[in-house]
């Protein structure tokens, strides 16, 4: 039977619905709060492992990788795949992302013929390794990061291999929850398979198989038609990871050259830094995901499946930070290479389609605190508090960046409720609020980030780890737009503060300790001195920008007449004069000797945002020791992006 338009439309949407039903089932039955917060994805693959449909609410980071996992199962098991089997893998080196992302793959048979796979990928709260939550920033190889599950069979012809499951969950810190998540994912794939079989019963196997191909063709055709309307050419940029901890200071460049030609888009990463000695490396599959996700932002209306991958070429130099081989540590790829690739791609497409320009977004960050809970109700329990923040997204052409939004890594990844966190963990969140002046200044301002101030209450034998980046390669602006502020955690004990930076692990914590943790805002777009003073005034009234920030970043002088009733006024004459002065002075800002700026920071005669935004100076934020090589690279990048 030929596939008519209505049936195609019905089936295409039925596949979206099938995958979304898998998601709904997983959400309702999972144990990991990470999965509950939507760090998961589900998909339907054809018999070759190609993605036919991915969930409509799934997070970016799994996009473009699920088909690799399905193909790795096919490659490993070949003919030895049977009705009633279920497979598992979390292997980043054969298509996965990081160990916490555990994938369950179920083949679907009709009359003995393998027609499809349903797949469920969920982020388990722990997968073993040296650190609670399995984020060890000190890991140089994957051995310390957790249990690596290469493609393996966990159910054979309908019989659960309990001994195998016991071994896997027995290597995690919460075996019962891990088993629960395994069951939940298993059942989600069963539900997907069942829905697919119902569609086969109604429309016939041949029609369904035809529609699998048609879904992918549809996506490819749609994308190529759009591509045909764009100019051909090449564009090049670089974004940076903060450092290689085993080397002297200096940013780690990820270089991307994009070429649009003959209805294809290629991304060439030649010139990218070699893999580094910490877990921020990306693998071939996770960086391919970043490329797909970055590109997708400029094709928002097109559904995602393997058809989308057909017009994209990537060249990822072997052994580089975007193609780290086994056994390099890669668990923190999401905070490291992943979002750098996405933001670099935003900059490139902003050149091609300026009316969709998008400056850099804040960096994905995870805080992990694990230890013994000493609260009366839960005394002696092991707790693992695992928290992430939203932040600001980059400014846009004609619009400010969006405030406090989930990360690029997965804008579907929900922020957790403070009330739920306080119930489950011995932590007291004193404040969780928008951070003023965090949005990168520009004619269009970057969105605002958030700051969290919290205290640990009744704890024992507790350590804190942090997975982030961009304490040095600070969230940047474009075309005159300025950077935001550095990521990083400040630890306070007995009134003493220490900035621990954006990556650290196993810092011992005591009852009563505080930590303060801002997330960056987005980068600005265009010259902040051209921002309409009336918009700056509105920002001041809402507390997105302070009165001092308005003066420093925008040259707008605002007088607080009666703040109780929001009576603030712009001093027009003073504003005009200040803007003239700033325009005259700023040409030399990036040439001021960096050490002089660092000295002023140490003396307290200059604030950190002035040093970063005007002078492009990057320091160790604990003691304001200048990082000369990093500063040189950061200043060069600021000049480059200003063009």
């Amino acid at each position: 039977m030929a596939l008519d338009r209505v049936t195609f439309e019905v089936l295409k949407n039925a596949y979206v619905n099938l995958v979304d039903q898998m998601s709904e089932q997983l959400l309702r039955t999972c144990y990991s709060f990470v999965i509950y917060s939507r760090d998961f994805s589900n998909c339907l693959c054809d018999a070759q492992g190609n993605t036919v449909m991915q969930g409509s609410g799934d997070i970016a980071v799994h996009v473009g990788t699920l088909h690799f996992t399905a193909k790795s199962i096919i490659e490993r098991f070949g003919d030895d795949i049977h009705e009633g089997d279920v497979f598992m893998s979390n292997d980043p080196y054969t298509g996965g992302t990081h160990f916490c992302d555990v994938r369950i793959v179920r083949p679907v048979f009709v009359d003995g013929e393998l027609i499809a796979f349903t797949q469920s990928n969920g982020h388990w709260a722990d997968i073993g390794g040296s650190v609670p939550g399995s984020f060890d920033i000190n890991a140089r190889h994957h051995y310390g990061e957790g249990l690596r599950i290469t493609p393996m069979r966990v159910v054979t012809r309908g019989r659960m291999l309990d001994d195998v499951i016991d071994m896997i969950v027995g290597n995690t810190r919460a075996p019962a929850d891990a088993r629960g998540d395994f069951l939940a994912q298993c059942e989600a794939t069963r539900l997907g398979a069942q829905r697919l079989l119902e569609l086969v019963a109604k429309y016939g196997k041949d029609t369904v198989l035809e529609s699998f191909a048609a879904c992918q063709d549809y996506v490819e055709t749609y994308a190529r038609q759009k591509l045909a309307t764009l100019p051909e050419g090449s564009w090049k940029t670089a974004d940076f990871i903060d450092q290689d901890p085993s080397k002297p200071e200096g940013l780690i460049p990820i270089v991307v050259e994009m070429t649009i030609r003959d209805g294809r888009v290629s991304y060439d990463f030649t010139g990218t830094h070699p893999a580094i000695d910490c877990f921020l490396n990306g693998t071939e599959s996770s960086v391919f995901s970043a490329v797909v996700a970055g590109t997708k932002f400029f094709f928002p209306e097109i559904p995602l499946n393997s058809g989308f991958y057909r017009f994209i070429d990537t060249k990822l130099p072997e052994g580089s930070v975007v193609n780290a081989p086994y056994p390099y540590a890669v668990t923190g790829f999401c905070s490291g290479a992943y979002e750098k690739v996405m933001n670099a791609i935003f900059l490139l497409w902003s050149q091609v389609i300026p009316e969709r320009a998008l400056a850099c977004a804040f960096n994905l960050e995870y805080l992990l605190i694990g230890g013994t809970d000493r609260r009366p109700e839960t005394n002696g329990n092991f707790f693992m508090w695992y928290d992430w923040s939203s932040g600001g997204w980059g400014a846009r052409h004609g619009m400010d960046g969006s405030n406090v939004t989930s990360s690029l890594f997965g804008v579907g990844l929900a922020q957790q409720s403070v009330e739920a966190q306080e119930r489950l963990n011995p932590v007291l969140m004193h404040a969780r609020e928008i951070a003023p002046d965090s949005g990168g200044p520009g004619r269009f301002r970057g969105g605002c980030g958030v700051v969290k101030r919290a205290q640990l209450t009744d704890i024992d034998a507790t350590v804190m780890s942090y997975c982030c980046d961009r304490a040095r390669s600070i969230t940047w602006g474009m075309k005159g737009g300025q950077p935001s502020l550095p990521h990083g955690v400040t630890h306070q004990r007995n009134g003493e503060s220490r900035n621990l930076g954006a990556v650290f692990s196993n810092v011992p914590m005591q009852a009563g300790d505080w930590f303060i943790r801002p997330s960056a805002g987005g980068g600005g777009l265009y010259d902040p001195l051209e921002r309409d003073p009336a918009r700056v005034l509105e920002d001041v009234i809402d507390g997105y920008v302070t009165v001092e920030g308005a003066r420093r970043d925008y040259g707008v002088v605002i007088e607080a007449v009666d703040p109780e009733i929001d009576d603030y006024r712009i001093d027009d004459a003073a504003t005009a004069k200040l803007r003239d002065t700033l325009r005259a002075e700023r040409a030399g800002w990036l040439d001021v000797p960096a050490e002089e700026v660092a000295r002023k920071l140490r003396e307290g005669s200059m604030d950190m945002l002035t040093a970063i935004r005007r002078h492009g100076v990057i320091c160790d934020w604990n003691d304001f020791t200048l990082l000369p090589r990093t500063t040189e690279q950061f200043r060069a990048a600021m000049r480059e992006r200003a063009r």
Binding site: E9, Y31, I59, A176, P300, E419, A420, I565
Partner: protein, 686 residues
């Protein structure tokens, strides 16, 4: 509610729409039904309600019970014409409603944002207080601080304040005390609510969001309801004014003012209930209801007799309203939707609408832009008058508008232009129907399409053909079907309390005590609303989950006192296996929350069942006119019947036009229809 009828013999339902206000009258003595329809008054919706009653030739004193579906809260949220409202939050946490959960509905379009919170950051304040997860006070409420804040709030002139503190679900004392102080300082004219009073549940954002919406709409809703209530009482109405809420039940005027956020989808729920009811009368369990009014179309789905409801509802993404709500989608396509040509030169339809004022061009009330109504008139699908002659339509004005704004720019003749306008309108509606049918894995070919609202029956047959829907149902009173839905519901309150305790008999006494507390409050609410004890129906349920899970399952139990939790646990395991195809009897089970649904049963109109008549042919049509049926047919000489001439059992062959007070039914060529015992028309393609 008094049981005495006396002169008060009518059950009345009034549904306010964007263009018309519809009323449905059920005479309890004779079982007769009648309908009226008057133009809506967006500025004074209450006057349209009174006018709809007067149009029936009766007064408020003749009404025994009045039920009302209103869009006043929804419109306030959509247009953001809200009360000037403030929030008071725990120090350090005024951004809960702005931080939300950080997600966006469109994962990939960086140029589409979530709307701003209904209460802006500048209007959100903080006080010192803190309660921990277990309900213990860590920092006492700074009462002097609250009084000072009240002074500032007064200076700023807010009409409403929502008090939203962290962990107030575990201990509402600070919220309640803060509200009390505000009441002292601000006086009775400022609308106050505390988040834990509205939704006593964990998770701060959904609770704060609901309270925010309640505060921002509270004064708007109260003002409206008080005015309407007063006018009805002055007219001699002695019953309760019942307001339809989003969950498919009603609240009294008093309850509606207090829980304004529950009305956020009041205006659209009635149609979903009526559509499912009518489809059931015609023997269809699967139905898609399409309620097309003057400015918008509400679409809902009923599968196997059940209309899906959701615990979380929202008017705009990111701001949940934590009350159970019937699932309905609304799109900006109605009879009054304006056809226009965009910058790219393509013909668009809606979402802007001429509404009731200025109205479509053919109303001759100042509208110059062509609407779907104008196109229907030009194609002969609508006759020269509406509402039995009360509104005369100006065909020349319609032709002028269509020619000037659509025909000339696109080089189409007037007929082609009118037809193009309708095709675009139908395609928009078809996409919306796909969203809730195909989009959720339902094949429209398995459904009947129930079309109502003033404009629905004009478009229903064409839309069904586009969607491959085999059956179309035209209700007896299409224009006021929604109003009828208001009569089919009971007073309903949904109450809940958090437990977060193990499901073991150790906690049995506490569970029983909490249920009783909820039931006492439920009965008190119903009693306050004048519900007699014998009309009260209380349903208990548990929300349970395996320890460590994040979502819970509802397990309903009987009303008798609990003596053993084992059967409840057993139901939970079985329900988990049914819903998710696995159970885990080895794992601990937790009681997340207890819920009580309290119904005050309202008597439903009982029309005498009509006998199924033998198949007959209709009488010859009194008139005929030229009606356009698309490019394939062009204009056909078409019989025009009055709806009153139709009787059960009659078989109607298309093409045919059927006119009635509140709507016009189009039966295209190639269709055969039958009139059911309930006077609905069931059309099939042949």
């Amino acid at each position: 509610m008094s049981a005495q009828t006396g002169g008060r013999r009518y059950r009345v339902a009034i549904d306010t729409g964007g263009t018309f206000t519809d009323a449905f009258f059920f005479d309890e003595e004779t079982g007769a039904v009648s309908v009226t329809k008057v133009p809506s008054r967006p500025d004074r919706p209450d006057e349209a309600v009174l006018a709809a009653i007067a149009a029936a030739g009766i007064g408020p004193a003749d009404i025994r019970l009045l039920t009302h579906g209103t869009t006043v809260a929804t419109n306030a949220l959509i247009t953001r014409r809200l009360a000037r409202a403030a929030m008071i939050c725990t120090r350090g946490h005024r951004d809960v409603v702005e931080i939300r959960d950080g997600t966006k509905p469109d994962l990939w379009d960086a140029y589409v944002d979530v709307a701003e919170p209904y209460i802006r950051r500048r209007d959100r304040f903080e006080v010192d207080e803190r309660i921990d997860y277990a309900g213990r006070v860590l920092t006492p409420l700074d009462e002097a601080g609250v009084r000072d804040l009240a002074r500032i709030l007064k200076r700023r002139g807010y009409e409403a304040v929502a008090v939203c503190f962290l962990n107030s679900y575990a201990n509402p004392a600070h919220e309640l005390r803060c509200k009390e102080i505000l009441a002292e300082e601000l006086g009775p004219d400022v609308f106050l609510c505390a988040s834990a009073e509205i939704v006593p549940e964990m998770f701060e954002h959904p609770r704060h969001s609901t309270a925010m919406i309640n505060a921002a709409t509270g004064p708007v809703v109260s003002r409206y309801i008080e005015r309407l209530d007063r006018s009805l009482k002055q007219g001699g109405y002695a019953g309760d004014l019942l307001i339809l809420h989003s969950g498919g039940g009603v609240l009294t005027a008093q309850g509606a003012s207090r829980y304004a956020a529950r009305l956020a989808s009041s205006g659209i729920v009635a149609g979903a209930i009526a559509g499912a009811h009518i489809a059931g009368q015609c023997g269809f369990e699967n139905a898609i209801s399409l309620d097309m009014g003057g400015t918008s179309t509400d679409i809902s789905l009923c599968f196997q007799g059940r209309i899906p409801t959701t615990q979380r509802w929202q008017v705009e993404y990111g701001y949940p309203i934590m009350f159970p709500s019937v699932e309905v989608i609304t799109i900006g396509a109605g009879g009054g939707s304006i056809a226009w040509i965009d910058q790219g030169g393509s013909l668009r339809n809606g979402p802007q609408s001429a509404g009731a004022d200025p109205g479509p061009a053919c109303y001759g009330t100042g509208g110059e832009e062509p609407t779907n109504t104008d196109a229907n008139l030009l194609l002969g699908r609508l006759g020269g008058e509406l509402l039995d002659g009360k509104v005369r339509l100006d065909a020349d004005a319609a032709r002028r508008a269509i020619h000037d704004r659509v025909g000339a720019p696109l080089s189409l003749d007037d007929t082609e232009a009118a037809h193009a306008i309708l095709r675009v309108a139908n395609a928009n509606m078809a996409n919306a129907v796909k969203l809730i049918s195909v989009g959720k894995g339902f094949d429209p070919r398995d459904f009947a399409l129930v079309v109502f609202g003033g404009a629905g029956p004009l478009h229903g047959a064409d839309l069904a053909r586009d969607l491959d829907i085999p059956v179309v149902i035209f209700p007896r009173f299409p224009g006021i079907a929604s109003a009828m839905g208001c009569l089919l519901v009971d007073i309903r309150h949904d109450l809940a309390t958090m437990m977060l305790k193990g499901a073991s008999n150790d906690n049995l006494d506490e569970v029983e005590a909490e249920f009783r507390k909820l039931e006492d409050e439920a009965r008190a609410r119903l009693r306050e609303e004048g519900v007699a004890p014998e009309a009260m129906e209380l349903q208990r349920s548990f929300e349970m989950r395996y320890v460590g899970q994040w979502r819970q399952l509802e397990v309903a139990v009987g009303p008798e006192p609990l003596t053993d939790l084992a059967p409840v646990l057993d139901s939970f395991h079985r329900e988990h296996a049914r819903a998710y195809s696995f159970e885990d009897r080895g794992r601990g089970v937790e009681i997340y929350a207890l819920r009580v649904v309290a119904r005050g049963v309202v008597p439903k109109p009982q029309a005498a069942p009509a006998a199924a008549g033998a198949r007959t042919t209709p009488p010859p049509a009194a008139s005929r006119r030229q009606v356009h049926f698309g490019a394939g047919h062009g204009f056909l000489d078409t019989p025009v019947m009055r709806r009153e001439e139709l009787a059960p059992g009659m078989v109607l062959e298309g093409p045919m036009v059927i006119e009635q007070l509140d709507s016009t039914v189009i039966l295209p060529p190639g269709t055969r229809s039958e009139v059911t015992p309930d006077h609905h028309i069931v059309m099939r393609f042949v």
